[in-house]
Every structure is written in C-alpha cells, then in structure tokens.
Symmetry: C2
C-alpha cells in the first residue's frame, strides 16, 4: 500500500492544477435577458452617453439657478411659468431668465435649465406664476448627459460574470443580444462494482450512485454543463474505453472512484493514459478527501474524487469549483462570503492536516452558534444535517468551544 | 406633497408585511434529481436503515477483535484466511475465532466480524494465512447498520429547501420522485409614460424598462417564477385593468412605479383597490428606496418599487427576498453570508435613516478593501461597478475609513 507517495498541502495542490489550465474558450450569441451567470466573450463599450438627455431627479420646477439666489419664505423669488414638461416626450420649452417650467422626476430638462427646485420649496400662485422659497445651486436635482456612463466608456469588460446589474446596464442601451463564452461541459463518471444507479433495487453489498447526481447539481450551480456518463465496472478494458469516450466529449472530466483497491488503481492508470502530463497530485493533506487525484491531460483537467459522498462534495467545493471558474474564462475569482458563529463544543484535530468539519449554524438568544456534526465521510446524512463547513488550518490542533469561527455556507 | 405621511423604520416595515403573509401552498411531484432549490411539501422518513448491511471503511481483513488483542510486529497474531469479500455482492463468508477474510473499502462484512484490520498493519504469509501486527478494538473500521440514518428517522422535514445533500440522501434510498411546493408566480408590471421596452428605439425624454428584466433574474434566483406583464401607461383605467389582470394571475405582484406624480398616485390607488387590507407601508426610512409601498391584498403580497434601478434592486434584495421566502413555504430563513472588508474612505450618513451604500470589494496586499461607489440611485452603472452593499445603521452618522465593514455580496 504505497498509494499516497506524498501528500501535498491543499493550497499547493490547488495551485499546481490551476496554473496549468489553459481554457479552450469559444463564444456564442445569447439574449441578454437570459445571460445571467454567463461570462462575457468581449468587452462592450457604451454606444452613446447615458442618459442622452438632461433629466430632473425630482418633481418641481426647472429654473435658472441664479434666479433663485437669496430666495426664502419671507422673500420668495417670483418666476414666470412657461409650461410643463410631459413625461416621455422631447420638450421644446426653453427657460429664459426669470422663467420656470413644471417638471416631473425623470423628465427632460428644457434648454436653459441650470437647476430644478423641488415642488416642496415652491408655491404656485396662478396659471403663470410660481413662488420659489429656497435657493438652488447650479446642477442641483439634475442628472447630466453621460452621468451614468459616457459614450465610449467600457460597459462591461471581457471575461466578466454577468449579474442582474450588467443585464440592466446592457438593456438600458437596447443591447438585447451579446457574445458570451460557451459553458464548459463537465463529464461525470462513477466507478465501482458495488455502485448501482439510484432507480435500481439494490442487494446487500451494493450502494446507489449518489455522487454523480449531487455533483451534477453543483457543476450546474458553478456554471458548467454536467453530463453523466454512468457507472463503469472494475474491468480495466471497459473502464479505459468508457473513460476515453467521456474525456473526448468533455472540457473537464470527474471520476468518482469506486472504493476497491482495483478501482482506485484503475482510476490512476486510466487518467495517466488520457494524455500528458497526466496526474499532478495524488493525495492531498486534507480530511475528508485525502485520496483526491488532480490531473491535466492534453490541456483538460481531470479530477479523481473519493467515492465517499461527504469527501466528494467537500473536494468539489474546494477544488472542482476553482478549476471550473478558470475553465469558465473568468478574469477574477468571485468573493467568498461566509458566516461568523460561535463554536458550541471543542473540535479536536491533528496538526499537519487541514480538516473541514460539517457544522449546523443555529440562531440562539446570543447570536449564531456553530454545532459540529461529527460523522464518518461515508455518511451523507452528516451533510443533510449541516449547513456549513469550518476549516481547521493545517497547523492547528483544533478549535475550542466559544471561539468565533468562519463558516463556509453549504 | 404629503406623499409620505410617515416613514417606517426598515425592520418594522418588513415585519409588518411578513407577519401577514399566508402562503397558498400547493404540492406537485418532481424528479428528485431536478429538485434542487425547491421546498419539500411533506416530511420524508427513512424506509429502511442506511446502510442496511455492515460495511468496512478500509481495505484489510475482517476479524474478530479479540483475536488481535496484544498483537505487535514482534508478536503478530496468526489468522486463517477463509476467503475474500467481493465488491457489490452479498457475502456468505463467516468469521469464526482465529479466522479472517480479505475485504475492501465498502465491502459487506462477513457474519461474525467485529473489526477490520487495515492492510498496512498485516502481512499475507501464504494463500491461507495472515499475520496481524496491531490490535483492533471492537467496531474499528466498521460502519454499522443504520449508522448513516435509522429506519423511520426523518430524512428531510417538511418545508425545507432541497440542496445537493438532500438530493444525495433521497437517492441513496432510491427515492427518485418527491412532493415539493409549487413555485410562487411573481407578476411584474412597469408603469410610466416615459418607459419603453428595451428592444425599442428611444427618443429624447424616454428611458428603457430595465427593472422588470433585472427583477426577473432575482425572482428566479430566489425561487419564484417571474412573469412580466409589460409596461402600462399613466392612464388610470388601463392601469387598473392591467394591474387587476396581472394580480389575478400571480401569487405576488411587483409594480415598478413610473416617476411622475400621477404614476405614483395611481400606483397607490390601484394597489388599494386590489383587495383588503391594501397598503400597509407607504414610505420607508431607507436610502435608496424611500417611496417603497408594501401591501397585502386578499392575502397576496403586492409591492410598489421605486422606478430608479438602484432603488429597485436594493429593495428587492432587502424586502422582496424575505417576502418571497415566506411565499415559498420555507420553515426557516437561510443564512446570510457576508464579507468583511476594510472601508477605504469615509462614508457620511444622516442619523435617523438606514443607508445602503454600493461598494467594490478589492483584494490588496493587506486583505480585502471596500471602496464606496457613490452615485445617484438612478444610475445603473453604480451597481455594475459594485459587488456588494454596506449598511449604515439608522442611528449612525457614517463610517470612518479603516473600519471593518460587513459587505452583503451583490
């Protein structure tokens, strides 16, 4: 049993595969309103300034600011009302000295306007005269042309994830189609003579394949297209053949290893046969997930995951996710939000290994509390009962009850 | 202008609508593998124990623990090898005193086994004898029947969001279909004479409707089904008619208000006409988003959002999201993960109002830094440039540069 020649530290292992990924990016055109979560294939610049007309930000009167200087309730300024700006229409009104026009929030400013006085600070005297009770500064309550974005400025850069704000920004310009990067196809293969498909009846000694289904959910959530290639038995020829087929059809391949020695040996052999350089990492100093394999074959990432469902999910979160983010073509990683909670009981750990402990975060009278959910990594219900993971760093002997921990949400 | 008779505090406003929502929950059957993000309609209990056979967690030899007591490299225990457990098969082997059987990780334990010795702690002498170098405790390296979950225990409770772990837990039992709550239908209506559809050419004075598209993205992300009902002009009859139609077809209605006074007046009048009790909150002590309307009409939530895109998105995150979570039938709110970052410059604020400031979180040499992105709430590119929001509490006069702030990711 010299399966793990050398366990690599998690960060070193992750960097080793990340720095070798050369994503094969191709673009396609999609409707902007369906582009949420996709990645831009090119930068987009503003075709004109936004807004492209001067607008009011309040309901009130469009004025020349200098006509209001010194105005107060005791000494109002009197302005001649020359008309009303109708919403959604180009106005032909003009403001000359001592004149004003009625305007609504979002309305187009008449030529000659240098400020808008809020309706609360005015009094309409009759059909053609308005009292102004407060002085306005030049530019007050006005959005200038290009104040949102100027013609030629970058709307969205290349290789950026499209969120609701970007969809709004594009639609504000009437850009209803855009070029995005195609989602990477992630092949999923399960191995092991004991594994059967979830819809099958099982006999003693067998277990249902849940990993390829739980991982499909995460792959889709992370922005990839999961494609399940079924379960291969522990026969080297069929294993090799089906893996090669799945590999050819994927941008990334994930093999969840059967737990027998032969299945594990085959996984490593088969991965190395898919193309150079092959396996970069075989064994990571982490729990759960020690037997993880990280490989690059002919430029494509191939990851061998432990068959235990907890290990498979934790390693997918910690290793498959960043690999997939790189394959998506993202120029920068996203933020990793977390939750701070007080640890309810001691978690012991062995220094020299990074541990990830499932926890249940609960709200009690004093705030958020994290309760460790202990269980072997074969037990999926450990994760059903949890809503987060707490990391015990490699140099730590554990965390004491009462300490504040950072919980990664599950 | 007595539009806002009384501004409610944000938390009070939120509670006022949340406590009156009586979601109309109906169930439907879906495939478990497609149930991610849906909410269970009933509790599900374990139909049998999992695992339902005793399994090994390591590669090695199934033994009787007492046969290994006192074993060491200098004084090994000698056991008779009676066979090998094949993966995925029910074994008929039995372990009697002084006997052992070869077994792989996940293999079914022979009757009579009380521990498994790891292969690293053994030496095979010949075809029917094994040396054991280490004592094993009773139960060591074994998963007992029901150790993951016992027959009759609750697999998933009612009104719980289904994550990847729950999908795995259900599929482990071969439960490939389940009863979930139907997603609520959220109708979206835009109003305002100045608003045109994004695919249209616009004239000066007009702006494109982006809110109903950005909100659709968020509604879908939060678990609802967004249905856009288009743009209604500022004519009370058509406004009333189209709003009533959209209301009848929805479980929740969102109206993004045009910015003219008449559009805003109509919105309030129309909402009050949809059914009792009508408007609960008109005006919240928050920026952006002050003119927000929260209503319940005939048991359905109706929300009037400000037309400014930044206000609309912020209020959707802070108010529409919790309302929708309640409509989804969730028994408990999810966790709200955040990011801690150091504020780069002072943010001034006015005590007495809750402010939400868009920020851009950047990684610099000293860690995460949050840079405020200042801009009027009409400017969608304020949000395009941001990746988070920072709250300035109602009683605060602002936050100083260098303070650590909690950033809600955008």
């Amino acid at each position: 049993m010299t399966e793990f020649l050398k366990l690599l530290a998690p960060d070193a292992a992750r960097n080793l595969i990340l720095e070798r990924i050369m994503p094969n990016l191709t673009a396609e055109i999609v409707d902007t309103e369906n582009a949420y979560g996709l990645v831009t294939a090119e930068k987009i610049t503003a075709p004109h300034s936004l807004p492209n007309f001067r607008r009011s930000t309040v309901d009130g009167y469009a004025v020349k600011a200098q006509d209001t200087f010194g105005a107060s309730t005791s000494l109002p300024a009197y302005l001649k009302l020359v008309g009303e700006v109708l919403m959604g229409q180009e106005t032909e009104l003009e403001i000359s000295p001592a004149e004003c026009a009625k305007i609504h929030t979002g309305g187009m400013l008449p030529v000659g306007t240098s400020a808008v006085v809020m309706v609360e600070d005015t009094q309409r005297l009759n059909s053609n005269e308005v009292e102004i009770y407060k002085p306005s500064a030049v530019g007050e309550n006005i959005i200038e042309i290009g104040e949102d974005i100027k013609s030629g400025e970058i709307l969205i850069s290349r290789n950026k994830k499209i969120r609701e704000a970007e969809i709004g920004g594009l639609l504000a310009f009437g850009i209803t189609k855009l070029s995005v990067l195609k989602k990477p196809i992630v092949g999923l293969l399960s191995t092991g003579d004991e594994i059967v498909s979830p819809e099958m009846d099982i006999s003693p000694g067998q277990v249902r394949d849940i990993n390829s289904h739980t991982l499909s959910v995460l792959i889709a959530k992370y922005g990839g297209i999961p494609v399940r290639h079924g379960i291969v038995p522990d026969q080297i020829d069929r294993f090799m053949e089906e893996t090669e087929k799945a590999f050819r059809e994927s941008d990334m391949l994930i093999i969840t290893a059967g737990s027998s020695v032969s299945a594990r040996d085959y996984t490593a052999r088969v991965i190395n046969s898919l193309g150079p350089p092959g396996i970069l990492v075989h064994g990571i100093n982490i729990r759960p997930g020690k037997p993880t394999i990280l490989a690059i074959c002919d430029g494509k990432p191939v990851i061998g995951l432990p068959g235990n469902p907890v290990s498979a999910l934790v390693i997918t979160k910690l290793f498959v996710h960043p690999v997939l983010q790189k394959l998506l073509g993202l120029s920068e990683p996203g933020l990793n939000p977390s939750i701070e909670a007080e640890l309810s009981i001691n978690i012991p750990s062995r220094a020299g290994r990074e541990d990830w402990i499932p926890v249940r975060v609960l709200i009690d009278s004093k705030g958020l509390k994290a309760e460790p959910v202990f269980g072997k990594s074969n037990l999926i219900f450990t994760l059903v009962k949890s809503n987060g993971l707490v990391k015990i760093p490699v140099d730590s002997n554990g965390i004491d009850a009462g300490e504040i921990v950072e919980v990664i949400p599950l």
